[in-house]
Amino acid sequence: MPHIAEGDLLAYLDGELSWVRRSAISEHLDACKACAAELASLEGAAALLSQALEAIEVPAPQLDSSEIKDRSRWISRFAGSVLFKAAVLVLTLGGVGAAAIPGSPVRDWLARSLIEVRGALGLASDAETTALEPQPGVAATSDVATITVSPADGQVVVRLTTPAADATVRVQLVDSDQATVRSRGARYRTGPGWIEVVNAEPGALEIDLPRALRAARVELNGRPIVIKDAATLRLLTAPDSTGSAVVFRVSE
């Protein structure tokens, strides 16, 4: 008797067959040990895959749909600001850092951000990777990591996502053409004209914004908290707080 094709056996297993075809295969399986064994093998492979995938599963990030809408609004503001305009990402590490350690999640995270943004910008350089090369014998410390980004269309957004409650954030205007963030223990995402700082540790977090920017803002967990207003910065939670530098505590 002709055997059942493995594709049909899997379709039988997955309930994809018509009632008529299913009945015919069922009858065949009762009489054919080889096909029954093949079905068992497919069933085993399917179970193995499901178990393997369970082993590597991680929970989805807890997001609100409003964060997607914010991202969409911001992207549409930059529409036309093509990824391949002049935007240069420079990634530096201040001193000894956990990011210098091979296998460090911070290192991998920074490397990925670097690769993805530089890839998107069509840029490639080995210079920025030297800072990521392993430093044998260096002890891991949660030291300051610095990241800079150029404006896109004269604008910069810095997003602080779930920083430590007792972090103090200093935002200042500087005579530079790039925005810089310095923080301890944080992970970074970047794109043209924006930096996201995730899980900055307690302590000082410093943000330098170019004085010549047309617009800039700092967001805390999706909410604007500092905006550049002409030649000054304005802390939105304390309208009287304006100047070339503002400071706020995350917990306030």
């Binding site: 094709a5 493995e6 594709g7 049909d8 056996l9 899997l10 379709a11 997955d14 994809e16 093998s41 497919l42 085993g44 492979a45 399917a46 193995l48 895959l49 499901s50 393997a52 995938l53 082993a55 590597i56 599963e57 991680v58 989805a60 990030p61 997001l63 749909s65 964060e67 997607i68 809408k69 991202r71 969409s72 992207i75 549409s76 350690i101 091979p102 296998g103 995270w109 490397a111 990925r112 670097l114 690769i115 993805e116 530089r118 890839g119 998107a120 490639a124 080995d126 990777t129 990521l132 090369e133 392993p134 430093q135 044998p136 014998g137 260096v138 891991a140 995402r189």
Partner: protein, 173 residues
């Protein structure tokens, strides 16, 4: 289309699918978000949302993979054992097991991975055919082959790991 409801309903499965496809939680999170951003800009009928999201997500993975391949050399690192503090055996074994799964999946090739992950997400063969761009009648065969290939690669890797572990134990006696 109720975007908020669609997001709440589909984001976990889109993320899970992307994480399984890419092996990278950060990339999966980013692409998942990007997929929903695109949904905001291009609303689709309620009954098409899931398939639409998975199509967009799959295409974004493909686009990103092309860029990533060109830059992969920048991620070359030295000996990963250098400078790391020793970890408990249990943790190491779990990590090795996770890596074994990831490497086995990587050996499948992108289309086979997509096929298997879509099946795991409960898509019917007809939907899978449309998402992947293959003839509906061929889905069963493609899936069966991919499943068997995964099982073979994974079991070989596990056998090798067990052999290495026994050799290590023997040399310590």
């Amino acid at each position: 289309m109720d975007f908020d409801a669609a997001f709440a309903k589909h984001h976990p499965s889109v993320f899970r699918y992307l994480h399984r496809l890419t092996g990278d939680a950060d990339v999966a999170a980013d692409i998942a978000q990007e997929s929903f951003v695109r949904l905001l800009d291009h609303p689709v009928p309620e009954d098409k949302v899931r398939a639409w999201l998975f199509t967009v997500a799959t295409n974004l993975v493909r686009d990103r993979a092309r860029t990533r391949e060109r830059r992969l050399r920048l991620l070359k690192a030295g000996d990963p054992a250098l400078g790391q503090a020793p970890r408990p055996d249990e943790e190491l074994e779990r990590e090795e097991s996770i890596q074994r799964v990831r490497r086995s999946l990587e050996q499948l090739g992108p289309r086979d991975r997509q096929l298997l992950m879509l099946r795991e997400e409960g898509f019917r063969y007809g939907e899978i055919a449309e998402l992947i761009g293959v003839a509906p009648g061929s889905v069963g065969q493609l899936l069966a082959r991919a499943l068997k290939r995964f099982a073979r690669v994974y079991n070989d890797a596990e056998r090798t790991a067990n052999d290495e572990r026994s050799d290590g134990d023997a040399s310590h006696r």
